[in-house]
Amino acid sequence: MCLKIVIPQLNFKQGAVEYNLSKMLDAIAKNYEGECLELYVFPELTLVGYQARDLIYYSAKSLDSELISKVIDFMSDYPKAYVAFGFPEIDTEIKGVLYNSYVIVSRDGVIGHWRKTHLPTFTVFEEDRYFRENTKLYPPAEIGEFKIGATICYDAFYPELVRAQVLLGADIILVPSGSPLQSMKLWEPILKSRAIENTVFVVYSNHVGYKDGLLFFGKSRIVGPLGNVIIEAKLGEEDIIEYKIERYDLLYARRVRPTLRDFRSTDIENLVKAYKMSKL
């Protein structure tokens, strides 16, 4: 069955969990067609809004919280829909420890779960103040015939993380993001490179609008497995884009630019060796 990716690029509010949740679910209700499987891709920390600062402490939820159940219940009316969104997650076992997390939810429950590894703490970013870094590897989520991986925002700057997910079978990589205008130019080569070096689809979903003087630039996009930008949303304003993923695009890309076929385990082994020899 076909898979349609939908990116509702919306202006979420800082700290307004209830408002953001209904804005997110409204977008699904409004756009649901039910012909293909539909994956709605929202940005990093969707529910708390990016740049929520200390409001993050008040908004964190656990994976088994009522809020997640609410989303699962909602999805029962949309049997072919999947929603990917971010929120500050409280560890259920070690209380008070927070992660910058991202999930895929359907009517069957949480089918994908990732936690951010690289927490930007420089210039305007202060994620280390709130979150614990994740070092685990999470398996891809399965939607129809596709496997979905995710690297949250700055994690996509680390090709090793994307490669690991691709080795586990991911053929679509979601990159939820909370990225301001000054990072806009950096994302262009990053997203294209991650796509080409793995011949995978890269789906970028960013926040929009001003949050305390910082403009989140949007430009959510879907990049094809040869680095081609298939569709891109507006700069800094609300918009919605969608695209039906074609399996053939993957197969074709892997024929004409077989970066995965030509990948060698020694690439990684030498990387580990080099790392051990380095002073980093």
Binding site: K13, Q14, G15, A16, Y19, Q51, A52, R53, D54, L55, Y58, E126, R129, L181, G209, Y210, K211, D212, G213, L215, G236, E237
Partner: protein, 288 residues
């Protein structure tokens, strides 16, 4: 090697359309979130306030903007008043003129009656703060907000009056250097005579920024740009070919000594919880 010309070209090569568009979006979103019913702008006839007026009109419409001309007899040049009036008309903005000399001179006399001497700098600051009082009174009247005109160059070197022209709700061109503001002004249709008018706070007769600071923004801006946008330490900036090395220290000193104007007043931390200005880290609009 980076040269003065490179810095100037990079500075002036900014994307005018993007800057204007994104500043307008900033104003529009801020006005909407704050629920303000009117944008109040102190219009001097200079390039900064004229540019801010144009941006604000584009953002929220002329009907949501009011311009206050707040001249001081004997100090504000007639040409500034007529330039400001023409500009307000051009952009279709309602305007009022309130002369500030009765208010400012009354403050001056009250101080002098107590033997507090009021020199031209003190009187200059009294004028700037008088304007702030009037702008906020009108803003209160409309349930509006005061849109400030400070640019990045002035804010960095502290060339403004604390709680005077610095006392505003938003600073739409606060990340735009003075030389860029002039070009942005032209892009927005502000007349050339305003866009390239020599900068002056007009706080005493004949006051001009270039003579008071001892340097022109053509010298200042590339140095600020090298320090702030290239992140170069002062010693490296001095090595840049074509730059006025003699004024680098002066500019750095101005940036450092004026930091107090840019921060919330310091509070000694005493409680166990969060303290404003120290570890209180909240977004402006708290949706809890």
């Amino acid at each position: 090697m980076l040269t003065y010309e490179d810095l100037l070209n990079e500075l002036l090569g900014f994307d005018r359309e993007l800057f204007a568009d994104k500043i307008e979006q900033f104003i529009r979103e801020y006005v909407k979130k704050s629920g303000a019913k009117k944008c109040v702008i102190g219009l001097s006839g200079g390039v900064d306030s004229s540019t801010v007026l144009a941006l604000t009109v584009n953002a929220v419409g002329a009907e949501n903007v009011i311009a206050l001309l707040l001249p001081h007899s004997g100090i504000t040049p007639e040409v500034d008043i007529s330039d400001a009036l023409k500009l307000a008309d051009k952009f279709g903005v309602e305007h009022k003129i309130i002369y500030i000399d009765p208010i400012a001179s009354s403050v001056k006399s009250s101080l002098e009656a107590q033997n507090f001497g009021v020199d031209k700098v003190i009187y200059g600051n009294i004028q700037a703060r008088t304007r702030m009082i009037l702008l906020y009174a009108v803003s209160n009247y409309y349930n509006g907000l005061v849109v400030g005109s400070g640019d990045k160059s002035e804010i960095l070197i502290g060339y403004f009056t604390k709680y005077g022209d610095g006392g505003v709700d938003i600073l739409p061109i606060g990340d735009v250097y003075k030389l860029q503001v002039r070009e942005l002004a032209r892009y927005l249709g502000v007349p050339e005579n305003i866009a390239y008018k020599p900068s002056s706070p007009r706080l005493w007769p004949g006051q001009e920024a270039a003579s008071e600071l001892g340097v022109d923004y053509k010298d200042i801006d590339p140095i600020l740009y090298a320090l702030i946008e290239h992140g170069l330490p002062p010693e490296e900036v001095k090595k840049i070919d074509g730059i006025r090395t003699d004024i680098v220290d002066l500019i750095v000193r101005r940036i450092v000594t004026n930091e107090h104007k840019r921060q919330f007043p310091k509070i000694p931390k005493l409680q166990k919880g969060m303290t404003i200005g120290i570890d209180w880290k909240m977004p402006l609009w708290m949706s809890m």
